[in-house]
């Protein structure tokens, strides 16, 4: 019961904060709204039985990625930008597209098969780690490191001042 109330409270928070991300005029406001979304999603992961993902979400997203966003917003002094929403003529088109998207993905999700909750679920850190480092994910895991290095090299090369 308490779990249900908590879930809906978090869901409403996440959803309204997501709206704020899109509607905020200043990039900094968007960033803080996004942090709220990330934290409530992390709590929802906890409710869904994955404490490790809940914490990793905070470590990687709220702790690192959003700090990077804040840094860039401060670095470029985005407050000077006037760019708000797009031209008015775009709005109906975008909403139409979003509506179609909701319909389509919604159809898939509603039609999706949810297994009844009889099966025991072990979302503990150990179970997670066992699966992550099993043979099935070896290549993905190693590819991740290549991805990270590529991103690092790319970011360094792009951001350094050309001389």
């Amino acid at each position: 019961m308490a779990e249900t109330i908590l879930f809906y409270a978090l869901a409403i928070t996440a959803f309204s904060a997501a709206f704020a991300v899109v509607l905020q005029k200043s990039a900094l406001g968007s960033a803080f709204a996004l942090i709220v979304v990330l934290c409530s999603l992390s709590a929802i992961y906890g409710l869904l039985g994955s404490p490790i993902l809940a914490t990793l979400q905070i470590v990687i997203y709220a702790g690192a990625v959003m700090v990077l966003f804040l840094f860039v917003i401060m670095l470029l002094d985005v407050r000077r930008e006037k760019g708000g929403g797009g031209p008015r003529s775009f709005v109906p088109l975008a909403l139409l597209f979003a509506g179609l998207l909701v319909l389509q993905v919604g159809a898939v999700l509603v039609g999706s098969e949810l297994v009844p909750q009889s099966a025991p679920f072990d979302g503990s850190a150990k179970a997670f780690a066992r699966r992550l480092f099993s043979q099935d994910y070896v290549y993905v895991f190693e590819a991740t490191s290549v991805l990270i290095v590529a991103a690092l090299a790319g970011a360094l090369a792009l951001a350094r001042r050309r001389r």
């Binding site: 670095l75 290095v149 360094l156």
Partner: protein, 122 residues
């Protein structure tokens, strides 16, 4: 011992969070109520060693800070993989060690690149 606990393990954290946030808000509110705001233009100006402030503080700052933050993110991800690995490395045995060593070596390559290009020098 938590397996037998009737309370989900995250609930005390919520309680603590509420206590901490409540304490912070109450303190700020309380001091706001009893403090005596007597503001003058000179007092509420930005502090710049007593000189009249020049320009805004929101000027651009060195890209260096961005670079170090990028390197931090990528090694943060590394840590995010190391923690779960540390939990099960005994079961994985030598296979797991080689898997992680390879991962770290590839990241080390990126680190060496960052080192060589001077992103770590200030």
């Amino acid at each position: 011992m938590t397996a037998s606990s009737p309370l989900p393990s995250y609930v005390p954290i919520l309680v603590l969070g509420a206590i901490a946030a409540g304490f912070a808000i109450l303190t700020i509110l309380f001091s706001h109520l009893i403090g005596r705001p007597r503001s003058t233009p000179a007092k509420s100006a930005t502090y710049e060693c007593g000189m009249p402030p020049v320009g805004t503080a929101h000027a651009r700052f060195p890209v260096k800070f961005y670079l170090v933050c990028v390197i931090f993110i990528l090694f943060d991800v590394d840590a995010a993989f190391l923690y779960p690995w540390a939990l099960v490395f005994r079961e994985l045995g030598i296979f797991g060690l080689i898997e992680m060593a390879l991962f770290v070596c590839i990241l080390g390559g990126g680190f060496a690149y960052a080192w060589k290009t001077g992103a770590l020098d200030w």
